[in-house]
Symmetry: C2
């Protein structure tokens, strides 16, 4: 049930974002997104509930009608089906996202 | 829906552990535990599913019959009602825990 970071596969998304599915089980999934050189995750929505956590870097976080500058330790709660996205303001940045239920689309 | 770390209340547990309820909503909750000077969170169980993530420090993580040395980026998945705990091996360390459903006992 322990997952070592060094053994987690990395999925390179097309726009300079690395996604690592850190761990999952039951109704929970934890995913890391690493951003390099000012890309952004465009605003989107999904039926999964989500809490995001800024590990490093500065991001502009949009969730519904709210857009807030966030740094390390800050977090954001995304209810099901609410539009949300992040935009990197520093050269690099890392975000953790917890989802319930699991993002089965990330397993494909 | 954004929670700034600087505004999150800190609950000081009796054994040198600080708990911060970073964010919550729907069926999700994200909690930070900061450990100072080799305390441990004794083995325990709860009906909530959990994924833990090591932010900093080195921990001995026990989950069921498994005990594994974990460092930054490593994570552990705890099914409902499975005994688990962590023991700090460095002077300080920080862990994030995602729970579903929410730990209502942390709101008291």
């Amino acid at each position: 049930m322990v997952s070592k970071y060094s053994e987690v596969p990395c999925t390179r998304l097309s726009d300079g974002i690395q996604r690592r599915l850190l761990n999952r089980g039951g109704n929970l999934m934890l995913v890391e997104f690493r951003f390099d050189r000012t890309p952004q995750l465009p605003t989107h929505a999904h039926p999964h509930e989500q809490i995001g956590y800024i590990v490093s870097g500065e991001f502009e976080v949009t969730c519904g009608d709210e857009t807030v500058l966030c740094g390390p330790g800050d977090s954001y709660n995304v209810p099901a089906d609410v539009q949300h996205g992040v935009r990197l303001l520093t050269e690099r940045g890392t975000v953790l996202d917890a989802f319930t239920p699991q993002r089965e689309d990330f397993l494909e």
